[in-house]
């Protein structure tokens, strides 16, 4: 190897070394030295705080959520535990989330790496919704605690009262019947707002699923008392839908109107498919597709070209047109990391037209790069 070539190789090797070192040390990974470990996330309400020789030990009640029974866990705080917000002391009845090292032996204490204190517990604000099989009913048959089981996920218990809307009205709940519910949180637990029963018909299986049809109404009968059938002509096929007194109809049905229908699919005794409408919503007429309902959300898509300094509006360019949408408190933004800018990102979603002509973004999904 000539001296010149040797020098070249030396320079290259040095450059490679430098570049790699710079490159890899910029990695965000905390390169800790464990081969395998269990760092777990524990959430709940602090039920006990004790001071021991080893430091503070918390007991966390993880059973505040009714979806699944969970045992209390004991968490050891150490001098290395980072508490957020800083300066706040853990106390009983405070909601907390911890990232902790799992104990080596079952029954031991978890060791907290991070403890996030979230304030005094409040009932969760979000509703609880689930669909499954009824596994427990009150002795009275309706009012009282129901339990619905979702196989391989969880069991959910909620209270049914006279205020609960149960449909169909002519069906009695029974153990083993499929059902969906929507419950709101109360101090006493989950209170059911709506329950939909899905009985199997004539020995046909319990596979009564929900489908959604979008299309134009044809063959609307003049007599719409009791049960009747209407036909929905969709883009791909026509479907007959059974409308019953339990069907919720929003808007004025007429031949030619565009509707969106949510229906339960089942089979009759002969094995034929039956679609029973739960809700029919008039969304427009053929001459004005998509504009029949003044509040119908419009689709927005494109590349974000501008973001207001205060973040309250995004300009979205698509095929030569720029649409400005307002970002409100209720806007759901999906796929954007906290603090990240949506600028130059592709987005799609729905926005609601406001009385002043502006568009309020309802949901915007930032597509993956």
């Amino acid at each position: 190897m000539t001296p010149l070539r040797t020098k070249c190789m030396t320079v290259l090797a040095f450059a490679l070394t430098l570049a790699l070192t710079l490159g890899m040390t910029s990695s965000a990974f905390a390169q800790d030295d464990r081969a395998a470990s269990r760092r777990v996330v524990l959430s709940g309400v602090i039920s006990d705080v004790a001071t021991t020789a080893d430091g503070v030990v918390l007991t966390l009640d993880r059973g505040e959520r009714d979806e699944d029974p969970a045992d209390d866990v004991t968490i050891q705080l150490t001098a290395d535990t980072r508490i957020s917000p800083p300066g706040v002391e853990p106390a009983v009845d405070v909601r907390a989330r911890a990232v902790a090292m799992a104990p080596a032996d079952e029954g031991g204490a978890f060791t907290a790496l991070v403890l996030v204190l979230k304030g005094r517990p409040q009932p969760p604000q979000r509703p609880l919704q689930a669909c499954g099989t009824i596994t427990a009913l009150p002795a009275s048959g309706r009012d009282g605690d129901w339990t619905i089981s979702v196989p391989d996920v969880a069991d959910y218990t909620f209270a049914v009262s006279a205020q609960t809307r149960i449909t169909p009205r002519d069906v009695e709940p029974a153990i083993g019947m499929r059902s969906c519910f929507l419950a709101r949180p109360t101090d006493a637990g989950w209170a059911a707002q709506n329950v939909v029963l899905k009985p199997a018909r004539d020995g046909q299986g319990g596979g009564r699923d929900t489908v959604e049809l979008n299309g134009t109404v044809t063959g609307l009968p003049a007599d719409r008392s009791g049960d009747y059938v209407l036909t929905i002509q969709g883009a791909d096929a026509a479907h007959d839908v059974l409308v019953t007194p339990d069907t919720e109809v929003e808007g004025d049905l007429a031949d030619g109107v565009r509707v969106a229908v949510r229906a339960l699919r089942s089979t009759d005794a002969a094995g034929n498919e039956v679609l029973t409408a739960q809700k029919i919503r008039v969304v427009g007429r053929p001459s004005t597709p998509g504009r029949g309902h003044s509040q119908a959300p419009v689709r927005v898509e494109g590349v974000v070209t501008e973001v207001a300094a205060d973040g309250t509006s995004w300009s979205i360019a698509h095929e030569g047109t720029t649409t400005v949408v307002t970002i409100g408190d209720e806007t759901h933004i999906v796929g954007l990391a906290a603090g990240a800018s949506p600028l130059d990102r592709e987005v799609e979603g729905r926005a609601l037209a406001q009385p002043d002509g502006t568009l309020l973004a309802k949901t915007l999904r930032v597509k993956r790069n």
Partner: protein, 451 residues
């Protein structure tokens, strides 16, 4: 995409860059000198196939295989499309009837039935719902509404257990806290669904084996802070505890891709906010320390897609214009193989084992189109795995735009400090290097030098 463009893509984008051959040769020689003991051959991908061939932008591909058959689904506008591979041949693409929405996910049941789930806007309830349809007997069924919730349901993923039970998970967007909802459907039964305990996060991924199933998602441990990748599994006894997989509290960890190895143990690849791809696998004692597979300083990877072939894990990702694959990322990573390259953009890689190689699917955009979905089969490298050689440093950007790096700790040993044990990736055995190829461990890419 034209046939000419296909050829260019198959060769790799470097063929037109004429300034670098000498430098590349020297760098390759240096790599050979430094690496010495290793051997692996990055096999050449086959010719990419344009599955969509439509005028509109096709994006967000997902793929499932069942034996030799495969199904790819993607979004075009608001329509969900699909293409099937039967007996090795791709059938013409077609929309799935009634499937309006985006972000499709695909799974194959043990009986060979393909299932597709997606998020679409419901005109009945004016929110996003999760829908499902399956291909049976050559026909798609009427899409079912699986979620039926009052809030927006987005980002579905679907898997099938060996008993045929389907598992469908998604993000439920609620003002207080987004959380993960799971739905299950036993064969012949209806869907049941409910929130997963303790799964407060977004972007779920699901995988199943036997009676168990595994779930991963992104979750901000502290409100408003960067997300970590968290995983949890369910057995007959119930849910385990959610376990933190990533280890970068200051940087967003997201887009988890979850697979199971032959013994049913999970592994996850994910995207770090600074552009790294992370990887970890679950061992009996817990999750291994994350390893960085691709350096953000040398490449800009998109969301990773992980595949498990027995006990081997392979990862694919789309860079700016390329789709790349790393084989055997848990043990001795191969040189990165460029599976596809496009003039304008590559995005949304999906990958699955396919025979002795991988089926890689991605969105690619050339100068003259709006974006199509391409599939390519990438043979696994002929890896002869002796020992890796830990050295202090190993890689650098050689070409300015096309290099990538790996950090490859010795398998299943304590994770090294960044400066301690970077290993040179496998080098080709001189006896197995195809003519005309120079393998550059430095750039981790098989480069065909234009002659």
């Amino acid at each position: 995409m034209s046939a000419v463009a296909h050829q260019r893509a198959a060769r790799g984008s470097l063929s037109g860059r004429r300034a670098a051959p000498l430098v590349l040769f020297l760098l390759g020689l240096l790599g050979l000198l430094a690496g010495g003991l290793l051997s692996a051959v990055a096999a050449q991908p086959e010719q990419p196939v344009n599955l969509s061939r439509t005028l509109g932008p096709s994006e967000e591909p997902a793929v499932a295989t069942s034996g030799a058959d495969a199904l790819v689904s993607w979004t075009e506008g608001e329509q969900i499309w699909h293409a099937r591979r039967v007996a090795g041949a791709w059938l013409p693409a077609a929309p799935i009837p009634g499937a309006v929405g985006s972000t499709p996910a695909v799974a194959a049941a043990p009986d060979g039935t393909f299932h597709v789930a997606w998020s679409g806007f419901s005109l009945v309830d004016e929110n996003y719902e999760i829908y499902h349809s399956h291909l049976s007997g050559g026909a798609w069924n009427l899409p079912e509404t699986v979620s039926g919730t009052v809030s927006d349901s987005v980002e579905p993923d679907i898997a099938a257990r060996t008993d045929g039970t389907l598992l469908l998970v998604w993000t439920e967007l609620e003002a207080e806290q987004p959380h993960i909802v799971a739905a299950t459907q036993a064969p012949g039964a209806g869907w049941s669904s409910g929130p997963v305990p303790d799964a407060d996060g977004t972007t779920p991924a699901v995988a199943a084996s036997g009676a168990e199933w595994h779930l991963a998602w992104s979750q901000a441990i502290e409100p408003g802070q960067a997300t970590e990748v968290v995983a949890m599994h369910r057995t007959a006894a119930g849910w385990g505890l959610p376990e933190v997989v990533s280890s970068s509290p200051a940087v967003t960890s997201s887009d988890a891709s979850l697979v199971l190895d032959a013994s049913g143990s999970p592994a996850i690849a994910w995207l770090e906010g600074d552009g790294h791809i992370g990887f970890s696998r679950r061992l009996p004692g817990g999750w291994t320390a994350p390893r960085a597979l691709v350096s953000a300083t040398l490449a800009a990877p998109g969301s990773p897609a992980l595949a498990a072939s027995g006990d081997r894990f392979d990862v694919a990702w789309a860079g700016a214009t390329d789709v790349n694959v790393l084989f055997d990322v848990a043990d001795t990573p191969s040189a990165a193989v460029m599976a596809m390259s496009f003039a304008r953009r590559a995005r949304g890689a999906a990958v699955l084992p396919d025979g002795d190689g991988l089926l890689v699917v991605a969105e690619g955009r050339e100068d003259t189109d709006a974006g199509d979905i391409y599939a390519v089969r990438v043979p696994a490298p002929d890896v002869e795995v002796p020992t890796s050689t830990p050295i202090a440093t190993s890689t650098a950007e050689a070409t300015g735009t096309t290099a990538s790096t790996t950090a490859t700790p010795t398998p299943e040993t304590p994770a090294p400090s960044p400066e301690a044990t970077m290993t040179v990736p496998a080098l080709p055995s001189p006896t197995t290097v195809p003519p005309g190829l120079i393998y550059l461990p430095i750039t981790l890419r098989a480069v065909r030098i234009a002659r």
